[in-house]
Amino acid sequence: MTATGVASTASVDRGARTRARRRSGAVRAFLTGHLFILPGILGLGLLVVYPLVTSGYHAFTDWNGLTPAKWTGLKNFRYLLGHDPTFWPSVRATLLFVVITVPAMLAGGLALAVLVNRSLRGVRIFRTIFYLPVVLPSIAVMALWKYVYDPQYGLANQVLKTLHLPTSMWVGSTRMAMPAVVVVGLWGVGSTMMIFLAGLQAVPAELYEAAQVDGAGPIRTFFRITLPMLTPILLLQVVLQMNAAFQTFNQIAILTKGGPGTTTDVLMYKIYSDGFKNYLSTPQLGYATAEVWMLFLIVMVVTAITLRFSSIWVYAGEGDK
C-alpha cells in the first residue's frame, strides 16, 4: 500500500487552534466521505441488507405474495428436507454440475493459458479465438447450442455421424442432458484462460532461469514453479467459479428447463420455478425463499471449507506486500 501519511507531517504545531481546525476538518472529511460513498451505502441497504432481512423472515412463512405472509416456523424447511420429492434430486443435480464444471473450467483454462503463453507468430489470433465465445450474449449462445443438440438437424450428431460414432438425443436424454449442459458452459473456458494467462505472465522470469540452470525439465518446472506461483489466482478462481456454477440459470432455462425428469433441475432453476414461474397463479414465495436460503447455505459452507483448507495448497508469497 502507498503511504498516506504525508499530511501528518503538518501536525508539528500543537496549538489548540490547529487541533480545533483539525477536528472540524475531520468532521468535514466524515461528511464528504460519506457523501461520496452514499450510492454504495444506499445500494448496500437496498440490495443487500433489505433482502437479507426480509427473506430471513419470509423463509419461515407461508406466503403467496397476495395475502400477508403467515408465520409457520420450520414448516417450509421440514417439507423441503423431508417431503419435497424434487428437492434432493435438485441438490444432486446442482452438486453434480458444480463438481464437473468447476474443475473442468480451471484445468481447461490453465491448459489453454499454458498453450498460448508463447511468443510465436499468430498467438494473438488463437487467444482471440479461444476467448471469443465468452464475449457473446449468453442467451444467444444457449439458443445456438439448443439447435446444435437437435437430434435430427443439429451439429453435434452431424459431427458424430461423420466420425462414425453413435449419436445421442442430447438434452432430451436422461444420461446425456447434464453432460450436454456442462459442455455448453465449458465453451466459455476462455474466461479462465485469460485470467491464468495474466497470472502466467506475472511469474518472474528469474525463477524460470534459475530452474533452467538447475536442469529442471518443462514438466518439473511447471509443477514446481508455475503452478505454485499461480495458486493465489487459482484459489480466487475456485471460489468465483463455484459461486457462478451454483447459480447457473440461463443454461438450464434455455436448454433443458430442468428436464428430462429432474436430471438437470438445479436449485437455481427450482427456485425460479417455485417462486416466479407461476407468477400469475400461485407463487410459493415463502417456500422459494426457504430454498434460496438452502442454496445460500450450501454456497457459504462450500466456500468456507475451500478457504479454510486453502493454506495447505496456496503459496503465500514471501512476506506481506
Binding site: G33, I41, P51, V116, P137, V148, N250, M268
Partner: protein
C-alpha cells in the same frame, strides 16, 4: 495488467521446429472446434427454408438467402427489442461508472471515520448470491408500482456494484497522493480533484468498468425475466429466448431466420470486443488478479 507475449518458459528445450509445428497443429484443431458452432450458425443463417430441412443436413448452404437478415428480425420485432436493450444498457453502464468511481474515490482518497467498515461491508457483499435478493426485490418493485418498467433494471446500477467499487478503489489507491496535496493547496475540493485530476488519470479502470457493465447488462436474462411482463418492453435476451422456445420443436424451417437474428444480437458485443480488445483483457486481468 496487459497481456503481452511472454517468454516461452516451458517449451524451450523441445526441438524447436517439431515443437512449433505441433503447437500450431494443436492450436488450429482447438481453434476450429471452438469456432465450429459459430461457423455452423453463420451457414444456417444464410440457408433457405428447404435447405435447412434437408436430410442429411449439409454444412454449407446451397445458395445464400440474405433476406433472412430482414425477415428474421421482423418476426420478433427485433429493432424495438434492440432499442429497449440499448436504452437499458447505456443507462446502466453510465450508472455503474459514475457510482462506482464516486464510491471508489471516497473509499480510497478521503480519510474519514468508518471508511474501513464500509470497505469491508461492500467487499463482503460481492459474495452474496444474486438469487438472495431476487424475491424480496421483485416484491419491493411491485409494491412501488415499478414492476414491468425498466427502473428495476437501471436503478441498481446507480448504487455502486460492489465488484466495480472494489476495482475502482484499487486503482485510486495506486495514484500518488502528492497530486491531491498539491491540488488542495491550490484550493481544490474533493469534487474538483475527482473530476479534473482523477477521472483523466483513471481512464483505464473506468473504461474497464464500462465494458464489464455493458456486458452484464446486455447479457442479463434473469432480471428482465423477473421484472418485465409486457412484450413491448422486453429486452433482446427475453425476446430471443422467446423466439427460440417458439422455434424449438416446431417447424425447423424457422431456424435460418432465428440464426440470422441471433447473429445480429451477437454483433454489438462482438464489435465492442474487437474495438476495445485491450481494455477487455485489462478487465479480465483486473477481475482475476485483484485478490489482495
Amino acid at each position: 495488467m496487459t497481456v503481452r507475449s511472454g517468454p516461452g518458459g516451458l517449451a524451450m528445450r523441445v526441438p524447436l521446429r517439431a515443437s512449433r509445428i505441433s503447437w500450431y497443429l494443436l492450436c488450429a484443431v482447438l481453434g476450429v472446434s471452438m469456432l465450429l458452432p459459430l461457423l455452423w450458425m453463420l451457414s444456417i443463417a444464410l440457408k433457405s427454408g428447404p435447405d435447412v430441412n434437408r436430410i442429411p443436413p449439409q454444412f454449407l448452404p446451397h445458395e445464400f438467402q440474405w433476406s433472412n437478415f430482414v425477415d428474421g428480425p421482423k418476426m420478433v420485432d427485433f429493432y424495438r427489442l434492440l432499442a429497449n436493450t440499448v436504452i437499458v444498457t447505456v443507462l446502466s453502464t453510465i450508472g455503474s461508472v459514475v457510482s462506482s468511481m464516486l464510491v471508489g474515490y471516497g473509499l480510497a482518497r478521503i480519510k474519514f471515520r468508518g471508511r474501513k467498515f464500509w470497505f469491508y461491508a461492500f467487499t463482503a457483499s460481492i459474495f452474496m448470491p444474486q438469487i438472495v435478493g431476487l424475491i424480496p426485490l421483485q416484491r419491493l418493485w411491485i409494491d412501488l408500482g415499478l414492476i414491468d418498467t425498466w427502473v428495476p433494471l437501471i436503478v441498481p446500477s446507480f448504487l455502486g456494484a460492489p465488484i466495480f467499487v472494489f476495482l475502482a478503489r484499487q486503482y485510486f489507491l495506486a495514484i500518488p497522493f502528492s497530486l491531491d496535496e498539491a491540488a488542495k493547496i491550490d484550493g481544490a475540493g474533493h469534487l474538483r480533484i475527482f473530476w479534473s485530476i482523477m477521472i483523466p488519470l483513471t481512464r483505464p479502470v473506468w473504461i474497464t468498468i464500462a465494458i464489464l457493465s455493458f456486458q452484464l447488462s446486455w447479457n442479463d436474462y434473469l432480471n428482465p425475466l423477473v421484472y418485465l411482463q409486457s412484450a413491448h418492453r422486453f429486452t433482446l435476451s427475453l425476446g430471443m429466448a422467446g423466439f427460440v422456445s417458439d422455434s424449438a420443436g416446431q417447424a425447423t424451417s424457422q431456424y435460418n431466420l432465428f440464426m440470422a437474428t441471433n447473429l445480429l444480437y451477437m454483433l454489438p458485443p462482438l464489435l465492442l470486443f474487437f474495438f476495445a480488445q485491450r481494455h477487455f483483457m485489462q478487465g479480465i486481468g483486473a477481475l482475476g488478479m485483484n485478490s489482495k
